[in-house]
């Protein structure tokens, strides 16, 4: 059993003992359910309107009317929910002084960071998989294109990884869990707003750079069903950079 696996196992165990995962999971799934329900109702209302206008059976596009808005809202929900999952990862270790055990054991800091990230990412993917019940149910009653749904899920999985890695950094910065959660909220919202700033600046060089940095544009393409290498590169470099940053933060604390 490698140290990373030991850390993943321990983190999963700790996560499922604490109520946080259950509460966060339940709230997240509930909100996802409500969001998709509202989207379906809205789609139905639109269908009726179209029928009244055109007087015939309308061809509803569930991809456009249900999944896309749901995925967008879900990304925002993740931005609020995921920092709660990551806040205790390092902050608690420091508060309870178990940090000393980890850092005086022959495990590398990179193994600690990766182990903690993988554990929490696994939990997140599990939650995301549970939301799959919505498209599954809809597929019994209507037909839609599964491909954009899958790329949308891929987008959520990637954006979630980035959010979680950001949360890991924030948790490493402080021993206060609330502070850790707020740091990651703030940072993620800031990056979200960068997208709006990029739109304002438009097609200038600066505008393009800023738009590229914000995750919104990359996410948008995936939800529309496009997988561009550029976006994958963005998420992977972002993830690696964040985990590297977490490593440096943990390392730097040894010097204080």
């Amino acid at each position: 059993m490698t140290p990373v696996r030991a850390i993943v196992a321990k983190e999963l165990r700790s996560a499922f003992v604490s109520p946080i995962v259950y509460v966060v999971g339940a709230v997240f799934l509930l909100i996802f359910g409500i969001l998709s329900y509202l989207a379906v109702i809205n789609a139905g209302a639109q269908a009726i309107r179209v029928m009244q206008l055109q007087g015939g059976a309308a061809q509803l596009n569930l991809n456009d009317l249900v999944f896309r808005p749901t995925f967008y809202s879900t990304a925002i929900i993740l931005l609020l929910v995921l920092p709660i999952l990551t806040m205790r990862l390092f902050a608690e270790e420091r508060k309870l002084r178990t940090f000393e055990l980890l850092l005086t054991s022959p495990v590398g800091i990179n193994e600690i960071v990766v182990g903690k990230f993988l554990a929490i990412y696994g939990i997140f993917l599990g939650l995301l998989a549970l939301t799959g019940i919505v498209p599954l149910i809809l597929s019994f009653y209507s037909s839609f294109d599964w491909n954009p749904v899958m790329t949308g899920y891929l987008g959520l999985a990637l954006i979630g990884a980035l959010f979680l890695a950001t949360g890991v950094v924030a948790s490493a910065l402080t021993e206060n869990q609330i502070v850790a959660a707020f740091l990651s909220f703030g940072f993620l919202i800031l990056f979200w707003l960068l997208g709006a700033l990029g739109t304002i600046l438009g097609d200038t060089a600066l505008g393009q750079v800023i738009s590229y940095l914000s995750f919104i544009e990359h996410f948008d393409r995936m939800v529309r069903g496009l997988i561009d290498t550029k976006d994958l590169v963005y998420y992977f470099t972002g993830l690696v950079f964040m985990l590297f940053l977490a490593h440096r933060v943990v390392e730097s604390q040894r010097w204080q």
Partner: protein, 326 residues
């Protein structure tokens, strides 16, 4: 086994330890003795590679703590001041986790677990959540964590804190039983504890080593005499010599305050009655008379005030008349 050379650790302007030098032989048990905040924990944290020193080198089993931390960590079992336990795990789960991050295989882990359960009498709580254990049990779980991979070097930061007297004795016996096969550094601020389990004591105060000696020699010096402080209202000029003539008095020191004297008496004799009678009968007016007990702080004060530059002289193997001989 452990060599520490001129280690200094600064936090900003604050110097936690300064030019600390000592070494520990294989199989030796060494105590770090000092008041709170003296720098014991800082020194241990440097040795366990938790934090690097600002200056100086530390080597454990031939490996440099800064250059080859993984090699050092593999050979050390460390019990920090606060037992580093996860409350949400059971004792078995916790020790399994610790064993795995220390790179133990399944078989080693199983054997190690049985060994520490037996040595620390933890078997009966093995399936209990650590959150539900008493302070004493948590401390023992912390010790189990340090011992599980049977490391050649053990660094224990105040291992008996929070234990009841019976458990303290058990832990001391355990540490004694580790001597010879293991190299142990433990910290304490309790002098008898150091005396009970250690072959050598490093006294550290305000970040500097003030003495290195065996506990026997240390305590012999500490108990070399009983001390009585006496203050007299109208002392005759030769009061010092007159007091010296009292049977049992070995030394008389005149204090800075007028009429105040410090008497050193033979070990085990309480001369307060005699001194009181002597002063009162002579009509000098007895203002104060009290027994001075030699506290650890007194030792520190004496060592730090009387012996300038003692830390430089505090070689690993001090001579019989070493630095403590104030």
């Amino acid at each position: 086994m452990i060599e520490v050379q001129d280690i200094t650790k600064r936090y900003g302007d604050h110097t936690a330890i300064e030019r600390v030098t000592f070494s520990v032989e294989k199989g030796e048990v060494l105590a770090f003795l000092g008041p709170n905040g003296a720098g014991k924990t800082t020194t241990m944290r440097i040795l366990t590679c938790f934090m690097p020193a600002t200056e100086g080198t530390a080597r454990v089993a031939g490996f440099d703590c800064f250059e080859q931390p993984q090699e050092v960590k593999r050979r050390i079992g460390y019990l920090p001041e606060t037992p580093p336990v996860y409350q949400e795990l059971t004792v078995t789960e916790y020790l399994t986790f610790v064993g795995r991050i220390k790179g133990m295989g399944k078989k080693d882990l199983h054997e190690g677990m049985e060994r520490v359960f037996e040595r620390l009498s933890l078997g009966e709580v093995r399936d209990r959540l650590i959150a539900n254990l008493s302070r004493g049990y948590r401390q023992r779980v912390g010790l189990a964590q340090a011992l599980i991979h049977d490391p050649p070097v053990l660094i224990l930061d105040e291992p008996t804190v929070g234990l009841d007297p019976k458990q303290i004795i058990e832990i001391r016996e355990l540490i004694k039983s580790l001597a010879g096969s293991h190299t142990v550094i433990l910290s304490t601020h309790i002098l008898p504890e150091a005396t009970a389990v250690c072959q050598r004591v490093v006294i550290i105060n305000e970040g500097r080593i003030v003495a290195v000696d065996t506990p026997d020699r240390l305590s012999a010096r500490l108990r070399r005499s009983e001390k009585i402080s006496v203050t007299v209202r109208t002392p005759p000029p030769d009061l010092g010599e007159r007091l010296r003539t009292l049977p049992g008095v070995t030394h008389v020191l005149e204090q800075a305050d007028a009429g105040a004297f410090l008497l050193e008496c033979e070990l085990g004799r309480d001369l307060r009655d005699e001194v009181a009678r002597f002063v009162v009968n002579s009509g000098w007016g007895l203002l104060e008379l009290k027994m001075i007990s030699m506290t650890l702080e007194d030792v520190f004060l004496r060592l730090t005030q009387d012996e300038e530059g003692v830390s430089a002289a505090a070689a690993p193997e001090p001579t019989a008349g070493g630095p403590v001989n104030a």
